[in-house]
């Protein structure tokens, strides 16, 4: 029985043997390639004392640990993603040894090839729409000490109604924007809106969209998003990217439009 295992970062179709030479992954372990079924996986050795099932349960609750692993995983995906199309594996996918990694490639050969074909030459972009539901200063600049209870309640009601209207119209705008961008892009997904407690964003996130864009069309996509954003009044668009195609290179995303 071994006390170490193989952490799988990603799968690709073609990588030269020296593609990961001298590059380290988690725990400073050197990256290596595992080949099977015409595919190649990038892996490194991790200690089961840190990545075993019990340890994972504990460590996934540790933000510092989670961030370090996610960032390292991302760095490896980025590095290899500059060389070839990559299908990133889920965080903390750990096989007992390299033979099991090869089995993994054999088992998922068709799906991985489909994923890699889908994302070849493409990058992921994130478009988020925030409804502006921020507090506005009262129109009447009367100090709060002079404001009557009735006036205060009236102001609160007006503010609440305005926020509801802003959210409603932004939700409609989110559907329209997502539809427009979906028609322009190779694939798209709507992810759940993020929790404000995690992001600290202003307003209400009504769209958390991921779009797979061919790299030669990225300028066109950016221009399109900017135009859509310019048309908005009470909400704002946030564009980020390009990123590795995390939302589209995965087996479970095979059914996306």
């Amino acid at each position: 029985m071994t006390d170490s295992a193989s952490y799988v970062y990603l799968a690709a179709r073609d990588l030269p043997d020296d593609a990961v030479a001298g590059v380290t992954g988690l725990s400073e372990g050197p990256l290596r390639l595992v080949r099977s079924a015409g595919l190649v996986a990038v892996v490194s050795t991790v200690d089961l004392a840190e990545f075993g099932e019990d340890a994972l349960r504990r460590n996934l609750e540790d933000l510092g640990w989670l961030e370090r692993v996610a960032r390292t995983h991302d760095e490896v995906v980025n590095r290899i993603g500059r060389l070839t199309a990559v299908a990133p594996w889920r965080l903390a996918t750990i096989m007992l040894d390299d033979d099991r990694v090869a089995d993994l490639l054999d088992t998922w050969q068709a799906e991985l090839n489909a994923s890699l074909a889908r994302v070849e030459g493409c990058s992921e972009w994130s478009v988020k729409l925030f409804a502006d539901v921020s507090e506005r200063p009262a129109a009447d600049p009367v100090g709060s000490r002079q404001e009557t209870g009735t006036a205060y309640l009236q102001r609160r009601r007006t503010e609440t109604a305005r926020k509801a209207d802003a959210t409603q119209s932004a939700t409609v705008a989110a559907d329209q924007i997502h539809l427009s961008l979906s028609q322009l892009t190779a694939a798209s997904r709507r992810l759940p809106p993020q929790d404000r407690r995690l992001t600290g964003h202003k307003g209400e996130m009504v769209l958390n969209g991921a779009y797979l864009v061919p790299d030669e069309q990225s300028q066109e996509f950016v221009t399109m998003v900017k135009q859509l954003g310019d048309e908005l009044t009470d909400s704002r668009l946030d564009l980020q990217g390009p990123w590795p195609p995390y939302s589209f290179a995965t087996l479970e995303s095979a059914g996306t439009t």
């Binding site: 089961l48 075993g52 099932e53 994972l56 996934l60 609750e61 540790d62 933000l63 510092g64 640990w65 989670l66 961030e67 370090r68 996610a70 960032r71 995983h73 991302d74 760095e75 590095r79 993603g81 500059r82 060389l83 070839t84 299908a87 990133p88 594996w89 889920r90 965080l91 903390a92 996918t93 750990i94 007992l96 993994l104 998922w108 992810l191 993020q194 929790d195 407690r197 995690l198 992001t199 600290g200 964003h201 202003k202 991921a210 790299d215 990225s218 950016v222 998003v225 900017k226 946030d238 564009l239 980020q240 990217g241 390009p242 990123w243 995390y246 939302s247 995965t250 087996l251 479970e252």
Partner: protein, 105 residues
Amino acid sequence: MAAVFVRHPRIRGHDVSTTITDIGQSGTPAESRQDSAAAHQPVALVDLLDRLLGAGVMLSGDITISIAGIDLVEVRLHALITSVRAEMRSTDPTVSRTEPREVIR
């Protein structure tokens, strides 16, 4: 490693096309890059975890040392919210709620 919370300017749409950042590790030589490959931008931790935990390749079976029985998204939210709340207690809550923040190293 402790998580550090800092204010980080959001990348606006009109900046993205002109902002090129080498996200490779500092100190390592630049590697050959295909002309068609995009220079990828850094991903905010929340966005990264959205994707690495929520959309990664899913496996089941005894060949994977899985985290069976744990909803990873719940784990993530629990871990992050706990940390964010701890951070907010030690700062001005008004500032922390109104300024866009991202978690970085």
